[in-house]
Structures are given as structure tokens and as C-alpha cells.
Amino acid sequence: MRQGKKIFWTICKYSILILLAYQLLYPVLYMISGSIKAPTDSYDPSVIWIPKHYSLVGYIDAFKSMKYISALFGSLLIGLGCSVFDIISCALAGYGFARYNFPFKRLLFVCVIATLVVPTQTIILPYYLNMRYFNMFGLFSVLSKITGKDLSANLVGSNIAFYLPSIFGAGIRSGLYVYIFKQFFSGMSGALEEAAYVDGCGPLKTFLHIMLPNAKNAIVTVFLFSFVWHFDDYYITKQLLGTKRRTLIVALSSLRVDLAALIGGQTTTDPIRIQTRILAGCLLAILPMFILYVIAQKQMADSIEHIGIK
């Protein structure tokens, strides 16, 4: 009886999972199927998912026209760098908000949320100008008054333009990361910190040695979000990268135009041939994030067993 009930629940669970998986995987399956179809199959009504003739020409063309290796390198540098800086700055701020009381704390936390609410589009113009004529929070302009030279730096096109906001917890959706860390830290028990304080640990040491290792789940979550959102971002990246370099997503957005230049004009009039290449390009752009997620989510599961043993 008990056995039967268990089997019933397992079947229920798996059927729900398969249903959900199908729905979420549908676009990816479509991309895979569409990207390996040979042109002749696109006109064949009997071919639905599994093509009769394979062709990898879509991948090769997309790879070439996106300049995949250099674009991937650009994306990874921005994604990994920003996510690491985001983790550091937002964990510090989140810990401050969770554990300490200081004047204007509530107002400042409202400001954290406010950064999330204001859409980037509304501040992109002054934001861009800030990076184009960067003057170190007004410091350079004071210095240039003294020396008489224009010291403002052009950060557009360099990775510093992406790292700098992240270092100061103002990257893409940083407010959310601060909030995530705050929720995690305030959920943790205060006993460990008190013990550390009694043993003579300073606040920074307590934070680094006691709190941060215990917040591994929050770190993994923030890392994933920050990486994916910096990797996926189009508006800010496009503005700040300038014209010389490209990330995968920027390359993907102009793939349709670039393909026309690569394989000649006749393909642009043929939507199906261009589509196989665009779908291949999409898959190539998703792949790095997908791999990273599979690696990172293992960390999330492991950390818990570790704490459980303690």
C-alpha cells in the first residue's frame, strides 16, 4: 500500500516536471532543430522536429560573422569581472543593512529599492555622459582647475566602464543583490557573530570568516544573476562599449545585417536560410551561460550538505 502510494507520487512528480520542462525547453528545442536543418528540409512539410538532412553551415556562418571567440572573450570579461565585484560590494552593503543600525538606515534602504525601480532608459543619457567624460566623482575637475589641464577620462570602450559601477555596487540590478544578501544575512543566527566578538574578532574579520562562508547560497545566486544580466545586457553594453568591441549579445543583435555582408545579398531575401543562422547564433550565445549555470548550481547544493554536517 505504502509502496503503491510512493510510486503514484513519483509518477505525478515526473509528469509535472516533464510538462514544465517541455514548455520551458520548447524554444531551445526549436532553436536546435531549426539550426541544423538543411535548406531543402525547410520547405518539406513532413519535417517537423527532426530534419532529414543535416547541415552545420548555420553554425559556421554564425560563428564567423559574430566573430565568436573575441565576442565571447569580451562577454566573459565583463560578465565574470562585474559579477565578482558585485558580490563583494553588495555583500558588504547587505551585511551592513542586515546587522547594523546607523542613522538614515531605512531611508538608504529605500534608495536601494529605488535604484531597481527607475528604468535604465531614463538615466542612460546622463549615465553615458558620466562615463564619456569621467572625472572621478568630481575629483578630476578640481585637480584640472589646479593644474589647468583637462583631466577627465574617456571610459567608453574600456572594461573599467563596466567594472567601476559594480565595484561601488551600482551595476545592473545591483539593488536586488544588496536585497538578496540582506535577506540572507538577517535570516542567519546571531550566535556565531557574538561568539566571534567574544573571541576578539573585529567586524570585518567576522564578516569575512564567519558570515561570508555561511552565505554561500546567496553568493552563488548573486553570481548567477549578475553574470547572466551583464552577459545578456544590450542597452548599457551597447552604449558603453563604443564601436570597436562587441559582446556576444551585441553581435547577436546585428547578426541579421552582418550575415548579409558575409554570405551575399541573395540570402537576405531568403528568410529561411537566414533564420537557420540566427537560431544557431542564439544557441551559441546561450551556451556559455548554460554551462556556467550547471557548474554553479552544484555549488549551491553542496554547500548545504556541508553546513548540515557541521
Binding site: 514548455q23 558588504l92 547594523y100 531597481l116 525601480v117 528604468p119 532608459q121 538578496i180 552544484k298
Partner: protein, 295 residues
Amino acid sequence: MKIPYYTKKKIYGFMFVLPWLIGFIAFFLVPFAESCIYAFQNLETTKEGLKGTYTGFSNFRYAIFRDTDFIVECVSSLKNLVTIPLIIVYSICFALLLKGEYPGRTLMRAVAFLPVIIGSGVLMDIMKTDIFSKGVISGGNETVVLFSSNGLSGLFQAMGLPERIIAFINTVISKIFDLTWKSGVQILLFLAGLHNIPSYAYEAADIEGANAIEKFFKITLPLLTPMIILNVVYSVIDMFSDFGNTIIRMIYDTAFVNVKFGYASALSILYFLMIAVVLAIVYLVLNRFVIKSEV
């Protein structure tokens, strides 16, 4: 001179927040303030670049009293708030499904993360033009149309159900489809939250003889409340600031297509104030229910 412990603690707390505060002022407050100044001007592109003269509150007055679309769109976007409880319930359930140990869990987790990867920006645009529209149009393919509402409505018509019920089921199904694509972030946050619930709480409950439902309502849900409020706040923000949102599109078009930066800034400030009011209400109501962990 000796600084008292509590003052010291205040200073420490402030030091932790300081890096963020610098970034907030430099990369958010200053650009935002500049954008606010635009709202009181009628900016125009001239040969020397952007030029504006001070026009007082005329942009705001125009948006509230004369623009036929803005207020109407704001009100209709408020109606979307109804879906937030659905998103929360759905993502808690999905996160619970993802938490347990079973074969194929890694794959399932990776699949659940797909909406986060795809759901933003360029990829979503390509999907909308190339994939979703395709699936609905190219009729004959059964598996594809199963989840687009066309396939099912045909089935229900064959079963002889009345029109109104079919229409209702159709909207429900398309809502569920939306739901799965909007809850990627929430699922991951809940998953992390679930993992942070200490296992000894469950062990103790097992010894006391609690069943699964009791464990969920007495342990999981209370300890998940900080994550629930975080997710509600995030869902509200996501709903209002998503680029697919009509008002965001309207602001963007006003600024970059019609080149009326001043008016666009005024619109975004009004919109921002509306979201702030909604968030304040949601936060104040929900924060009463947050349970601080003492385990």
C-alpha cells in the same frame, strides 16, 4: 578618548554600506537628478546639441490632464498586479520540486534557469519574432500548438464546450505560459532560500512525527517569509520595469523616437512615483508577516 561601543557599531555599519553609497550617488543619484532637471524643461536638439528652457510643471500637467494614453495605461498596468500571487505560489511549488534529490535534477534545474537566460533583451526579441510566432502560425504541427491556445481550443470545440468557457480556458493557459516565463528569477531565489533552511529543523520535526504538510506550513513557509517578501518586491518591480511594458515603451519612444527628452523624463518620474506608492503599500503590509529566524 574612548568611543562607546554602540557608536562604534554605528560607524562600522556605515562603513559596510559606504562603497554602495558612493556608487549610489555617483552612478544613480546624479544621473537621475539630471534626468529630473530635464523634466522641467522642453529639451530640443539644436545644432549646438541639446538645449532646453525652463518650463515649470507644464510637462507634468500635460501628462496628467491632456495626454490621453498615459494615465489610462498606468491604471491598466496596475491590474497586472493580480498575477503576482500566482507567480509566488507557482515559483514556490517549482522550487520545492527542484529541491529534492532525484535522478535528472541537474537537468531540471538548468531548464528552470532558462527563462532567466533567455527572458531578457535581445534573445527575447528574436524569440518573439522567430519562434513563438512561428509555432502558432505553422498550423499542422500538433506538438507545437499543444501549448499555444489554438490547439486546445480546437479540441474543446470538438468536445462541444460553450464559447465562453473555451475563451476562459484559453486566457488561463496563455497566462500559465506567461507565468512560467516570468518566474525564472523567483524560482532561483526560492531555491536558494529553501536550501538555507537548516536541515535539523526538519530532523526535529521528523522525530516529533510531523507529516509533510505540517512540515511545509510550520517550517518551510515561515522560514521562507524573508524570501517571499523579496520575491514580491522583485515581481512588482519586474512587472513595471520590463521592457515589454507599454509605459516603458511609451517613455522610450517619447525620448528616442520623438526626441522629447523633457516630456519623457516627466513621464518616467510620474511613473516612478506610482511604482513607489505601490511598493510602499506592498512592503508595509507584508513586512508584518516576516518571521525572523531564531533557529
